[in-house]
Symmetry: none
Subunit: 250 residues, 2 copies
């Protein structure tokens, strides 16, 4: 009907992990166990665990079981690079200038581009960010899409420099659990030229971010355009320690 069971199950498990029912380092019940507990087939459990694994919440090892991971403690070199706090700090240090706020319905093209459901309603906030106290040109142009029920963030836009997801966290019972991020090189499109004070056809970094709450819900999507000369993305990846008991062979 509405939501697939494996998604629902992923949300419940993700909430249970966030709620410390399964703390970092502990083991999740086995797949057959989860299947019987939730009254679903093992395939459904596996589909749910696929989601959690992809989000970096758990690690699965054949013959051993499924472990809840600490963020930053990922097998090999983790997909988790940096922290949300770092992203938020970036927002705190810059000033937002809102250019338009508007309710939109996602057409096929936008839905594909953002990875959201076609026909779904979102509040779109179009803004630029600048370094305060300078006459420098803006660092980026960002379209922020939030669920309609969170639309009251628009009251706060004017007075606060916080990231939108930060404001949402404070006003609603929402905690950001993970962010999916995609980076791509593009050329500055004509429509962005005047807002960014950039040259059309210059190099720019496009960053698409999808914000997931602890209950697994996608509640915010941002689509940012950074002219290359004003922004580079830096990150550090550290080798993860194994969570298991066995020592590292040599």
């Amino acid at each position: 009907m509405s939501e697939p069971r494996y998604q629902l199950l992923a949300r419940e498990l993700s909430a249970a992990i966030a709620g410390d029912r399964y703390p970092a380092g502990s083991m999740l019940p086995s797949e057959v166990d989860l299947a019987s507990r939730f009254g679903v087939s093992r395939a459904t459990v596996r589909a749910a665990l696929d989601i959690l694994e992809h989000r970096g919440l758990v690690q699965r090892r054949r013959g051993a079981g499924t472990t809840v991971l600490k963020p930053g403690d990922h097998p090999g070199f983790g997909q988790t690079i940096g922290t949300i706090e770092e992203l938020i700090q970036y927002a705190r240090d810059t000033r937002r200038i809102v250019h338009s706020v508007k309710t939109i319905i996602a057409d096929i093209e936008l839905a594909d581009r953002l990875g959201i459901a076609p026909g779904s309603r979102w509040l779109r906030i179009r803004a630029t960010r600048s370094v305060p106290g300078t006459r420098e040109r803006p660092i980026c142009l960002t379209d922020t899409y939030v669920l309609p029920e969170l639309a009251d963030v628009r009251q706060r836009l004017a007075n606060e420099t916080l990231a939108v997801c930060d404001m949402i966290e404070r006003d609603h019972e929402i905690v950001t659990e993970s962010i999916d991020q995609q980076l791509q090189a593009v050329l500055v499109p004509r429509e962005a030229v005047s807002l960014l004070e950039a040259e059309a056809g210059g190099p720019a970094l496009r960053i698409l971010r999808r914000y997931y709450a602890t209950d697994g819900r996608l509640f915010e999507v941002t689509d940012s355009l950074h002219p290359a000369d004003r922004f580079a993305y830096r990150m550090s990846v550290t080798r993860a320690r194994r969570l298991d008991h066995g020592e590292t062979d040599s």
Copy 2:
């Protein structure tokens, strides 16, 4: 049995697409059709298609079918890499073509660009990576710089498709502790045009990686140029959860 059937099937389909049996814009056979053709179950076909879809080679639409995408015309992004496992798989699935190997001494400009000491000596390996069995253009142009004392990796370049840092880890007492990574949008420079078969001035993603060993030594630097239509960078960022007991227990 080494390789799972769904992986093998993914490779065969991917090769068939590359070999123009299913050209861009055309439809793949239906899932049931593929299942009976290859003598596997539909679930196995779906697992294979999941891989192709995730790589951005095909697009699936319920009720409509599976379409082969044109590179550069993807609904979201092109090739994406999320985890190191994928990076390794990426290396395994692509062919390295070495164009030159040469000892260089870093001048001021290079030292600045790579973050290494001016006047230091490095072995530079210039190579492209392509999807094997196709006449597609290369995915990236990479300059790999390694310390002179690790120069014996050059013997392995021809026979192995592994990442250079992987080969170094195996041959020497070096373990990669962390990687500093920097992403930047640039335009394809004239010097890269012929090797990449790309248009000068087109958008490209430049990824600079610095590899540090456990003793803190910088032993490898890579400088990659990915034309935007052939690559996007994907990652997941996780909220730093509260640490219950001691922080990094051993």
